[in-house]
């Protein structure tokens, strides 16, 4: 049974100018031990998905429908319907998060070790302090930080070390699901490589479900079992990683994957996507990608395609899925 299930979730931000449709009907399922990568460009709503999951939303956020089912030892709980008090029970123990810009998510005036101990004691108040401390020491070892550094302050850490500490913090209460939102964006590649390797290893060891959120397609390619491509508040395609890269059927997926340069292999043609992402206050009617899509027809500009499973594990929302022939032709042009 799935550990997490999004069912047509809608979360909009209310502004003076109207509703910003940041998350507009998102559905997916995640199993234990599985990793889902969500790729999309800035402003497509991918961070809002993670904030929705943890329910750490600003005051102007409104749920407009749908469910987030979380598997609590066999009982499916709808996180959307919980009160704030009930939600606290699942936050960090059930689902935790590695935040974007991890360097800023540690409190500068507390020792790093104490911050993680605090998280444990908050959720398991009956834990003896020595036990909590030895747990933190173990977590430090898991993320390859020297446990001696528990008594240091964040400013004594390098960027990569802070990121590791934040990962240790996310693991503190043995969560079942971890969301990593741009976990390595601010880091140099050699440090990024180490962190990604560690995260993959830990995920396997602890059999956790992971959601990686990033704009960096190469990072997503390496860490995800399956990938969801998000555009203007919606998923447009979702499938296993290889399918998304090798046989994408949504034009946006295809163009995005081939707009990303690689430093190895043959030097391939780089695709450009014309235009700019839409404003989520007034998204285009019909298919949201239609105004930028080279294959769009009149139908695309009026009718919205349904997001549905077209083959096992492959979801798509497009009126004119790309065939292998079309894809090959694009490279020859």
């Amino acid at each position: 049974m799935a550990i997490l299930k999004f069912e047509n979730l809608k979360m909009h931000y209310k502004t003076k100018k109207g509703y910003v449709k940041a998350v507009d009907g998102i559905s997916f399922e995640l199993e234990s031990g599985e990793s889902l990568g969500i790729v999309g460009e800035s402003g497509c709503g991918k961070t809002s998905v993670s904030m929705t999951l943890l329910r750490i939303l600003p005051e102007n956020a409104h749920f407009m429908g749908g469910h987030v089912w979380f598997n609590d030892d066999g009982n499916m709980i709808d996180l959307v319907s919980l009160s704030e008090e009930q939600m606290r029970h699942y936050r960090w123990k059930g689902i935790s998060m590695v935040f974007q810009a991890a360097m800023n998510s540690l409190n500068p005036v507390y020792r790093v070790g104490d911050q993680i101990v605090e998280a444990i004691l908050n959720h398991y108040p009956e834990t003896p302090i020595d036990e909590a401390k030895s747990k933190v020491a173990k977590l430090f070892e898991l993320v390859t930080l020297d446990p001696k550094r528990m008594d240091q302050y964040p400013h004594q850490y390098s960027g990569g070390m802070k990121q590791r500490a934040v990962i240790a913090l996310s693991l503190a209460c043995d969560p079942k699901v971890i969301i990593a939102d741009e976990p390595t964006t601010a880091l140099d590649v050699i440090v990024q490589d180490k962190i990604l390797r560690e995260m993959k290893k830990i995920q396997k060891e602890l059999n956790m479900a992971m959601i990686y959120i990033s704009h960096d397609i190469a990072v997503i390619a390496e860490v995800s079992d399956k990938i969801a491509v998000m555009y203007a508040g919606k998923f447009v395609e979702q499938a296993d990683a290889t399918t998304v890269f090798k046989r994408p059927m949504h034009p946006y997926t295809f163009l995005l994957m081939n707009a990303f340069p690689s430093h190895v292999g043959e030097k391939k043609k780089l695709f450009t996507i014309p235009g700019e992402p839409p404003d989520l206050l007034n998204p285009p009617i019909g298919c949201r990608f239609a105004p930028r899509c080279p294959w769009a027809t009149d139908k695309c500009r009026t009718d919205e395609p349904e997001y549905k499973e077209i083959e096992k594990g492959h979801f798509l929302a497009c009126w004119h899925p790309l065939t292998e022939e079309v894809r090959q032709n694009e490279f020859r042009k």
């Binding site: 050699i190 990024q192 190469a218 390496e222 290889t242 163009l255 990303f260 340069p261 690689s262 014309p274």
Partner: protein, 330 residues
């Protein structure tokens, strides 16, 4: 000699040391060797990429080339004449810069026309009508069309990609021979980024200028430049033609860097980068090889001898590493 082969920019033994933090009343001064003895040249119409991690000195090098910083030591020559001997105005009509962040580099109180035409004002080129015409023509060239709909707008009305196009137009308006581009696409979204990359490549062809392209991203550099120089803690450790460097990296650092960059292909298995420890800040570094502490191939010689010179190991491929130069690592 055709103009294609003429040396446009020649940088020799360039150094920039910044004073490091020191304790109150302490007289001992320490220096961060941000750029330490860097030499390279760019021929007319050719582009060079400076690639490295943050803190390697690539941006400082670029800023010295556009005279935003003055070197601690060393020389910069453009068309055989030292930058010191150029009049500042004359120099900047030849060398321009594009900055990383298009949200910071455009004055929010100026219209797009004013921003792009400002160099013409400063250099007192043309009448108002001529300037308007020139700006409109450039807007067209950088893909902001129709130009009339952009001329009187302000930066906040434009997206990141459009702003970077404005910054490119501004850099181009004096017809420079060299553009120093500091991570011009790293703040842009993927879908918009390729457009700006293509634009820069096309403009290079049509205007025949050169780029000194500064980036941390080897994959982007691959599409933008003819040659790549890899920097590590203030030194160029390897320099070669782009494809040669990517297919036959020789310096241990370049190899590690290549292995560390994620590949947008889920079926590709990267080998683990072979490198020790973490990057440090080069405060008063010892005179030996900068990479010594992190190098998995180090030898006795590396510990004793001065930092290795860049030597041509194969045709056009320069490496600063003793074991590589002696043929000990392949």
């Amino acid at each position: 000699m055709s103009s294609e082969n003429k040396v446009l920019l020649e940088v020799k033994n360039l150094k920039k040391f910044f004073p490091a933090e020191r304790a109150l009343f302490s007289k001992v001064k320490h220096f961060v060797h941000a750029v330490d003895d860097v030499s390279f040249e760019i021929k007319q119409g050719e582009s060079l990429g400076l690639v490295g991690e943050s803190g390697c000195g690539k941006t400082t090098t670029g800023r010295m080339v556009v005279r935003l910083e003055s070197p601690t030591d060393g020389t910069i020559e453009v068309l055989g004449k030292s930058v010191e001997d150029y009049d500042r105005m004359e120099y900047h009509s030849m060398v321009q810069m594009i900055f990383q962040d298009p949200y910071e580099s455009l004055n929010p109180r100026m219209t797009i026309f004013d921003i792009i035409a400002e160099p013409l004002n400063i250099h007192n080129v043309g009448t108002l009508e001529e300037r308007e015409e020139k700006v409109a023509q450039l807007l067209q060239e950088v893909g902001l069309t129709p130009p009339d709909s952009f001329l009187w707008r302000y930066p906040h009305e434009l997206s990141g990609g459009q702003r970077q196009r404005v910054a490119i137009a501004r850099a181009l308006i004096l017809n420079p021979k060299l553009i120093v581009a500091d991570e011009p696409t790293s703040m842009l979204d993927v879908s918009v980024r390729t457009g700006v990359m293509h634009l820069m490549m096309e403009l290079q062809k049509s205007h025949g200028m050169s780029y000194l392209y500064i980036t941390h991203d080897l994959a982007v550099a691959r599409y933008m430049v003819n040659r790549i120089a890899v920097m590590y803690l203030g030194k160029i450790v390897e320099m070669a033609e782009t494809e040669e460097l990517l297919h036959h990296p020789m310096h241990p650092y370049t190899r590690a860097l290549m292995d560390a960059v994620p590949v947008p292909d889920p079926d590709y298995k990267r080998s683990e980068p072979n490198i020790i420890g973490n990057i440090s800040v080069p405060i008063d570094p010892p005179p030996i090889c900068r990479f010594y502490d992190r190098c998995p191939f180090k030898e006795e010689k590396c510990k004793i001898d001065p930092h290795p010179e860049l030597k041509e190991v194969s045709s056009g491929h320069f490496v600063a590493c003793y074991p590589v130069q002696e043929g000990k690592i392949k």
